[in-house]
Symmetry: C2
Subunit: 110 residues, 2 copies
Amino acid sequence: MGATKTEHFTNRQNAIAALSKAMAHPARVAIIEYLLKVDSCICGDIVNELPLSQPTVSQHLKELKNAGLIKGEIEGNAICYCIDEKVFQKLQSYFSQIVIKSENKKKNCC
Amino acid sequence: MGATKTEHFTNRQNAIAALSKAMAHPARVAIIEYLLKVDSCICGDIVNELPLSQPTVSQHLKELKNAGLIKGEIEGNAICYCIDEKVFQKLQSYFSQIVIKSENKKKNCC
DNA sequence: TTTTTATATTGCAATATTACGATAAATATT
DNA sequence: AATATTTATCGTAATATTGCAATATAAAAA
């Protein structure tokens, strides 16, 4: 055992879980916030910004990219990473729906 | 190695990561959606609803509860679980801010 | 071409998560 | 009291994540 049983859940449920997982580490949250803060996103500076080694940061960037939260474009010998809004919109609207549905249900319990 | 270095990040970053982590498994997403769907939330039925054993479901419920996404109240020999809106509001507004800030930044790159 | 700079990959150790059988605990029913 | 029902906990195996040193890759600068 030990592996998540994704096949038993809907695509949508797996998708939300995967996006959430990408945000489930403070370093990745910090990376997203840094990308938002800086005007440009020429971004090797992320390594200097975080208390983590270069390979570790690279790995976190890879996960964010796989999840679709950021995109990266080669820019000379550096890489320009930046946020992909669309996916954050998905998360925002998903949680917004939860809040709305939850409010419309006041409340037989708790 | 292997442990997340939470001490190097802000409380806010760790908090968002912790909430995201609670939603980072499809079973927990499914639990939240089930709690939203049913009118009441007298909820041992969650075990029947999911393709997972009772101890596994209990463990997922525990994590959701620790993260503050649900609350549980003893109701006879069963337990009534239900959603705690406040925390979903936090998530929603956090991602909403990301989308807004990201839109106001069109865009020197990518 | 050699060297520097920037990023990615590999390999590995430490730790965390996921899942479940067995069992415990606690209330409800008989 | 004995039994059934409901949920939690323990123990443990399988797998995943985190982090870094070492190394690879690839473009830029010298």
